[in-house]
């Protein structure tokens, strides 16, 4: 019974204990270290990835729930780091230590996919689960609004 999982467009066999959260499969087995460990309990958002385009916390998502699902990590969000959010992040010089930012960007990408023009309140609500201990929140808000505008122009 060989199960598999699709990560950033590549298919990988699931050859580990299936109770293992996706986070550790990514980090320790595939060396995809862009997805970070921060709390292990769904409290900080550092480990956010997309499952079929939806933001999930990979630290609390056992790999057995993901058979044949499509996973996107920060490494696969865009081909050349040119997702409008990535560009807006650079434009606004968002990262300080940067450790939380993969999770922030992945969460924001999922927000914009569902709600292309979020209000400030909607951004705050959607991004509440992502902690930035360095305190880059003001720039995150601005970058998300900027990216929303870019996406609208492109559409």
């Amino acid at each position: 019974m060989s199960q598999s999982i699709v990560i950033n467009g590549k298919t990988y066999p699931i050859d580990v204990d299936e109770d293992m959260p996706l986070l550790w499969f990514l980090r320790d087995h595939l060396a995809l270290t862009g997805t970070k460990y921060g709390c292990g309990s769904g409290l900080c958002g550092a480990c956010t990835v997309h499952v079929n385009g939806q933001a999930v916390r990979s630290c609390v998502t056992p790999i057995k729930t993901l058979r044949n699902q499509k996973i996107t990590t920060i490494e696969g969000l865009s081909n050349n780091g040119d997702h409008p959010l990535q560009k807006a992040w650079l434009e606004n010089k968002v990262p300080q230590c940067g450790y939380c930012q993969a999770g922030q960007i992945m969460n924001a990408a999922s927000l914009l996919a569902e709600n292309p023009m979020p209000s400030d309140d909607e951004i705050e609500t959607a991004m509440q689960g992502n902690i930035c201990r360095c305190g880059t929140y003001q720039r995150i808000k601005k970058a998300i609004s900027d990216a929303a505008i870019t996406l609208k122009k492109e559409a």
Partner: protein, 727 residues
């Protein structure tokens, strides 16, 4: 402040030729911790240097010896070098230096990097430029005076000939090192004081920046650890059978407490084929601890003791004027007591490193603020020469003081030594929160006298907190006189003054946390000043200026003016002067604090509804002398507001029965985006030599908030955090 007495005599020590390139190194003054009196100076702390490398093709590498943890130092300092050497920043790559004394003091703390490295790094750049010019002049058989350097080229002004830095590098490496160089004027800066992007942000947004937690080497094994929950305890019994049964578990390793300042507190580690298995198996260990002499530590009780200690006479550590007379002649005497709890740094990247101990080689990859301390601790533990320990400094995913203390690297070394594997040890968030080094729990009591006109005539200040010095000297039972220096030297400079130290033994590991003692000194001074203003029936802005104007200490006059200027800046840029027009329930609070040789003022605008405090707007003004990177400076202030707000409102580490009760972000509620106020940062430009900004922004926030809430609601908060979570 006692921190500006270091030698500024920096000079080029040597050059050496690397494969086809030019290396430049310089001598740099002593470490910030020596300056702050936290560690004793050693002779070797002063013979140091930094590197520039230019390859034959012109690609230039500038090494940063200071550790990067998000504060932007690895952009700010190399950009200053590039500016002086007239390098084209597009051609410059920044590399993080490994542990090596050639880079100068690498212990990155005390907001000192820019303060101590700006001048030597610029000189290194200027000397490299002079040597490149000399090389070109030699080629052209002309005088160096005819040549100028510009954007990675040397140009012959007589005939407009050009030679690239790459072409000149190996010739330049053989040129004599200039004794003296003239540094650029402010008006000539290309990068210093500008808005240069960080060199590493484009890696961050694609998940490619490698942090300590991300390091992978062949045959790596993964470890998780459970620590003894109480300082001074030890293992009583261990049943590891269940853990060992788990598939993928390779070993269980006992780590005895290593009783040096940055050694392990003691614990048991599980080694496995991945971190998750290690973490799961660690939960299956059956461990009994002998908790030792701190087993009854209870912060709620302890804080009461501290309050009691500061509300009674302590040991006098400094005195001036005649405080007794001032109090006798006073129109008003005002008293207040302020407290604060332990704090955990909680960087989002937990403590992590990779260590491989082999019989004749020990190599470390770590998120760290102090690679040299790693060398020292591992050298002591392994009984090897510290210089033989190879330490690669990885980007830290936040640190805030925590990663100066690399007990976690020592632990990884123990595990690697005992198993023979290269080990990646990642602490769980729970272990990070429960067995860290904590910001001091604290109490302060102030009594002040005022005359008829609201002049402050006398000031008695008592402080009690377990001092960081207890890490190095556990027998200390109260703050040292030196720990209290920033009270004595406060810019209020009250003429009749006494400072007393109250008893406060340490029952856990105390360690510096972003802004350190300035957190609670800033809170007590800033809040008490507001309380005095109300008593004197004056507005706080006028009152603070009156205190500053009454400071007749000649040595503090320039500092007082700078403090007044940042204060005026936030008063003007906020709605302070229109505060009467604010809606009911809103208020603005002011505070200004001088720490780590920088000046920061804040005006915090709040809305209070019942018990609910909403921060709407923060104006923040800074004077840190010459700014190296305006965006970096702004980012540091935004971050300081967030950290200041977390510790003012909600974060506190609670101990019961010797151990920390908090475990993760649900019961250590750091600020989230929904509470983020609008922050406006105003840079007050000055020509003083530059000082750091990593920490100074934290101190003024909490007092400004307390003052704002009082203005809005007449409710006074004197205890940090204002809204502790019941845990």
């Amino acid at each position: 402040m006692n921190t500006n007495k270091i030698s500024r005599r920096n000079f080029l020590k040597n050059t050496s030729i690397a494969a086809g390139g030019l290396f430049v190194s310089v001598v740099i003054p002593a470490s910030p911790l020596v300056e702050k009196g936290i560690i004793e100076a050693k002779a070797s702390d002063t013979s140091l240097n930094a590197f520039i490398h230019i390859a034959d093709n012109g690609d230039t590498t500038i090494y940063c010896g200071r550790c990067e943890m998000g504060q932007g130092i690895s952009t700010a300092l190399p950009a200053a070098v590039a500016d002086e050497m007239e390098a084209d920043w597009q051609r410059v790559k920044v590399k993080q230096g490994d542990a090596d004394e050639k880079y100068g003091p690498q212990g990155t703390g005390g907001s000192a990097s820019i303060r101590i490295m700006y001048q030597p790094m610029r000189e290194a750049g200027a000397k490299a430029k002079a040597m490149l010019i000399a090389a070109a002049a030699k080629v052209w058989k002309t005088s160096p005076e005819n040549c100028i350097a510009q954007s990675h080229f040397v140009i012959n002004q007589l005939n407009q000939q050009k030679l690239g830095y790459g072409e000149l590098a190996s010739i330049a490496a053989n040129m004599p090192i200039p004794e003296q160089v003239t540094l650029k004027n402010k008006s000539e800066f290309n990068y210093i004081g500008k808005n240069l992007p960080r060199h590493d942000q484009s890696e961050v947004v694609v998940g490619k920046r490698i942090y300590g937690v991300d390091v992978k080497i062949p045959n790596l094994k993964y470890a998780a650890i459970i620590h003894c929950p109480v300082l001074g305890g030890k293992l009583k019994s261990l049943d590891k059978s269940e853990a060992l049964k788990r598939k993928g578990v390779l070993a269980v390793v006992e780590i005895p407490r290593f009783d040096v300042p940055f050694g392990s507190i003691g614990g048991v580690a599980v080694v496995a084929t991945n971190t998750w298995i290690a973490q799961q198996a660690a939960k299956q260990l059956k461990i009994a601890w002998d908790l030792g002499k701190n087993a009854n530590y209870d912060t709620q009780e302890y804080k009461k003791q501290l309050v009691n200690n500061v509300e009674h006479a302590g040991v006098v550590t400094a005195e001036r004027g005649n405080i007794k007379q001032a109090f006798n002649e006073a129109k008003h005497i005002v008293k207040a007591t302020y407290t604060g709890g332990h704090l955990s740094h909680a960087p989002i990247e937990p403590n992590a490193s990779v260590v491989w101990v082999q019989p004749h080689r020990c190599e470390v990859w770590a998120s760290t603020q102090s690679p040299v301390d790693i060398q020292n601790v591992l050298g002591q533990y392994l009984k090897r020469d510290p210089k033989e320990i190879i330490v690669h400094v990885a980007m830290a995913g936040g640190a805030f003081g925590r990663k100066y203390k690399c007990d976690y690297v020592h632990e990884a070394a123990v595990i690697s030594e005992k198993t023979g594997f290269p080990i990646q040890l990642i602490w769980s968030r729970e272990e990070d929160m429960r067995t860290g080094y904590y910001h001091s729990i604290n109490a302060q009591h102030i009594e002040a006298s005022m005359d008829e006109q609201g002049n402050v005539t006398g000031w008695l200040h008592r402080a009690a907190f377990p001092s960081i010095s207890t890490l190095f000297n556990p027998s200390l039972v109260r703050p040292t006189a030196r720990n209290l220096d920033d009270i004595n030297n406060h810019l209020f400079g009250i003429e009749n003054f006494r400072c007393e130290s109250g008893e406060a033994k340490a029952h856990t590991r105390i360690g510096w946390y972003r802004a350190v003692y300035a957190i609670f000194y800033g809170f007590a001074f800033g809040t008490f000043a507001d309380e005095l203003a109300h008593k004197a029936n004056k507005d706080t802005f006028t009152f603070l200026n009156q205190i500053f104007d009454n400071n007749h200490n000649l040595q503090q006059q320039s500092d007082v003016q700078r403090a007044k200027k940042v204060l005026a800046t936030v008063a003007e840029s906020s709605a302070w002067f229109d505060r009467d027009k604010l809606p009911q329930g809103q208020g603005i609070g002011l505070a200004v604090h001088y720490s780590f040789q920088s000046f920061v003022a804040m005006a915090v605008h709040v809305e209070v509804k019942g018990d609910d405090i909403r921060v709407l707007n923060v104006d923040c003004a800074i004077d840190c002398g010459q700014v190296l990177n305006t965006d970096g400076a702004t980012a540091q202030m935004e971050g300081a507001v967030v950290m200041g707000m977390s510790l003012a409102l909600s974060t506190e580490i609670t101990f019961r029965e010797g151990a920390v009760v908090n475990s993760n972000f649900h019961n250590y509620p750091v600020l989230r985006i929904n509470a983020m106020p609008n922050v406006n940062v105003h840079i007050v430009h000055s020509d003083f030599s530059p000082t750091g900004l990593g920490e100074p922004g934290v101190a003024p926030f909490a007092p400004a908030l307390s003052n704002a809430v009082y203005a809005a609601s007449k409710k006074r908060y004197r205890d940090l955090p204002f809204k502790p979570l019941a845990v």
